[in-house]
Amino acid sequence: MSAAVELDDVSCDFGRFRAVDHVNVAVKPGEFFSFLGPSGCGKTTILRMISGFTNPSEGIIRIGGKDVRGRRPNQRPTALIFQNLALFPLMPVWENIAFGLEVRGEDKARRRAKAEELLRLVDLPGAEDKMIGQLSGGQRQRVAIARALAVEPQVMLLDEPLSALDLKLRQHMRAELRAIQKRTGVTFIYITHDQGEALAMSDRVGVMSQGRLQQVADPREIYNSPVNGFVASFVGEMNILKGEVEQVADGFASFATPHGTFRARLAGDARGAPVKLYIRPEHMVLGADDGGENAVPVTIGDIAFEGNFITVSATTDTGAQLTAELRNDGVARLPEGGARMAMRFDSQRAMILPDETARG
C-alpha cells in the first residue's frame, strides 16, 4: 500500500532557470515527509515531478524502487491533492470520490460503496449526493482526501492543501491529516511554506531554498540544530548577530561581535565560511545589567503582549535589534519600555552557523 520515493540527483530546468538543483532524498514507505520552503524554492516542482506532470531535466525518480521516467501521471501509483483541491464542481460528492474507480471501469454499485466507505473514513458520512458548491472549506478538504485515497495510491502528494483554510480549521485538519495518514499507512509527501504545519505533522522535513535541499531531518533537529543560517531563520524566529569566530574548543567557539564576545556552539562545517550567531528569542533571558557571560546590555523598546507569550524588543548600544520571547506564566512582571537591562543566553543554545545557504 505504501512505497518509498527516491529522488536521485534530480534537477529541473525551466529555460535558463534552474527550479530544482541536484536534490537527493529518500522518503521511506509510510512516512509523512514535508518539503518546507518559501514560495519559488522549487518544492512544487518536486511534487509535480513525482506525480509526473513535469519531467526532471536530470536525475532519476524511483517510486517503490522502480524508475518512473516516461510514465504519465495516470500510470503512476501516486495521488495528488492540489492546492485549490480541483474537485469537479459538476459532479456530486460521491462521483468525485469514485472518479478514479469510474475511469478504471468499476461498476456503479461498487463505486458508490467505496465512496460511502471513504466518506466515513474522512468523517463526512451522508454527504454522498451533495454538490461541491454546497460544502464548506473543511468539508471540501475531506472530499479531496477521500478522492485521492479512492484510487489506493502508494504515495499521496499534497500541495499546500490547507493554505486556504482559516487558522482554527487548519489546526484541526493538521491533526486529521496526520490521523488519516497513520490509519492508512500511505506515504505522504507534503508541500508547505508554513513551518508550523511542517513541524507539527511530519516524521521528517526537508527544508528547501533556491532549488536546493538545505537539510533533511526530523522536526526537532530542524528546529534545534539547523545546519545553516537559512534553515535557522526560515524555521522559527532568530536573533542574528554578525561577527567573527575567534577561539575554537570542544565544539564551542568564542564569537567576537561589536556588542561583545560570546560563547556559542559551532556547527561542524562553519569553519572558513562566513558565519553569524543565531539565538532563538525564547532562549533569551531578560535580567539586570550586571555583566557575566553571554550578556548583552540593551534598552527595552516595544513590548507586545500576545497572550501565551510576551515579545520584548530591545536595542543594543550599537543599534542592533534583539527580541526575547517570555512565557506568560501569569505572574511575571513586564519590563518597562526604555529600561536598561541585559539579554542573556545559554552558550548551549546559541549557534554559530554558516550564513550562506548550501548553494555552492
Binding site: S51, G52, F53, R72, P73, N74, T78, A79, L80, F82, Q83, N84, A86, L87, F88, L90, M91, F99, G100, E102, V103, R104, R147, A148, A150, V151
Partner: protein
C-alpha cells in the same frame, strides 16, 4: 439611467432615448408588426386591397402543407408537401453544418485554450480572423471557384492522379447540398470556435490534471471534465451556427446544385420573384417558429438550460 442623466445632461440623454426608441420602433418593431399583419391577408391586385376580398385567414400558412410530392427516404416512399421537404432539408443540413463545425472546432478550441503558449496565441487568433476581413459573398464565391469543374481542386486532384476524371463537386458528390455545407461551415466556423474556446479557457487546468492524476485517459478527461464544463459554450455555438446556417440566403444561392433548395430561397422567391409578400411573411414567421422549436427540442434533449447559454 440616472448615471446617464448625471453624466450627459437632459438634452443629450433625451436624444439618446429618442434615437434608440426610434431605431427600435421604426426599424425593428413596426416593420415586423406590418409583416405579421400582412401574413394573414391574401395576395391581391392593388385595386382589391382593402376591398371585400381582403380578409384575414391562415391561407398563407396553409401553403406550407400544400402541393405534396412523392419522395423516398432511406428506402421508404411517402408523399410530403414540397415546401416541407425544403424545410426538412434545410434543418437537416443546418444540423450537419453545426455538427461538422463542432467536430472541427472543439479540438482547435481546446488546443488554443489549454495547450498553446500564451505568447503565440494572439498570432493564431489573428490567423483565424483574417478570412473574416473578406466579405461573406466573396468567401462563398471563392469556394465556387475552388469547387468549379475546371477549378483548382480538380486541377490538383486530377493532376496528381488522385482522381481519374474531374469531379462535378458543385453538383454534389455525397448529397445535393455538399457545396452549401462546405460554404456554410467555412462561413460560420468561428461562431462555433469562440464560444467553445471561451468556455474551455475558463476551466481550471488543475481539473484536467486532477483527472489525469486519478488515472483517466485523455478521452475520459474530455468526456467527464472538459466537455461538461464547456457545455454552455458548445450550446451557444451550436445555436448560433444552426440559426445562421438555417437563415443564410447568400451561401445557398452562390453554391447551389441543380437539386438543392434552401428554405430561405423559398421565402426569397415569394418576396422578390412572385412579389407575394403575404406568403413570404407567413413563411418567415413560420420558419422562425419551427427553427425555435427545433432548437428548443435539441436543448431539451441535451439538458441545456437557456440560463447556461446566456452566461
Amino acid at each position: 439611467m440616472e448615471n446617464l442623466f448625471r453624466r450627459y445632461g437632459a438634452t443629450l440623454t433625451g436624444a439618446f432615448v429618442v434615437l434608440t426608441a426610434f431605431w427600435l420602433l421604426a426599424l425593428v418593431i413596426l416593420p415586423n408588426i406590418t409583416l405579421f399583419e400582412a401574413s394573414f391577408r391574401p395576395y391581391l391586385p392593388v385595386v382589391d386591397i382593402g376591398g371585400p376580398r381582403d380578409v384575414y385567414s391562415l391561407n398563407n400558412y396553409r401553403l406550407f402543407t400544400a402541393n405534396p410530392v412523392d419522395v423516398s427516404f432511406l428506402g421508404f416512399g411517402f408523399s410530403m408537401p414540397i415546401h416541407m421537404i425544403t424545410f426538412f432539408n434545410t434543418v437537416i443540413f443546418s444540423a450537419i453544418v453545426t455538427l461538422i463545425t463542432f467536430l472541427m472546432t472543439y479540438p482547435l478550441a481546446y488546443y488554443l485554450a489549454k495547450t498553446v503558449l500564451p505568447q503565440t496565441l494572439p498570432t493564431l487568433i489573428l490567423l483565424l480572423f483574417i478570412p473574416l476581413w473578406v466579405s461573406e459573398a466573396l468567401r462563398a464565391f471563392a469556394w465556387y471557384i475552388i469547387l468549379a469543374f475546371d477549378g483548382p481542386l480538380n486541377a490538383v486532384l486530377a493532376g496528381s492522379g488522385l482522381v481519374e476524371k474531374k469531379v462535378r463537386w458543385l453538383n454534389g458528390v455525397v448529397t445535393a447540398y455538399d457545396a452549401i455545407v462546405i460554404g456554410l461551415v467555412y462561413t460560420y466556423v468561428l461562431f462555433m470556435l469562440f464560444p467553445i474556446y471561451g468556455s474551455i479557457q475558463s476551466l481550471d487546468r488543475n481539473q484536467i490534471e486532477a483527472s489525469e492524476d486519478l488515472g483517466a485517459r485523455w478521452w475520459q478527461t474530455h468526456w467527464r471534465v472538459v466537455l461538461p464544463h464547456a457545455k454552455p459554450g458548445i450550446a451557444s455555438g451550436c445555436v448560433m451556427v444552426f440559426m445562421l446556417s438555417a437563415g443564410s440566403l447568400l451561401v445557398p444561392s452562390v453554391l447551389p446544385s441543380t437539386r438543392s433548395n434552401w428554405f430561405t430561397q423559398t421565402i426569397q422567391s415569394y418576396m422578390l420573384e412572385s412579389q407575394n409578400w403575404n406568403a413570404g411573411a407567413a413563411y418567415s414567421f413560420l420558419y422562425i417558429l419551427l427553427c425555435t422549436v427545433v432548437v428548443t427540442l435539441t436543448m431539451w434533449a441535451f439538458k441545456v438550460k437557456l440560463s447556461e447559454i446566456a452566461k
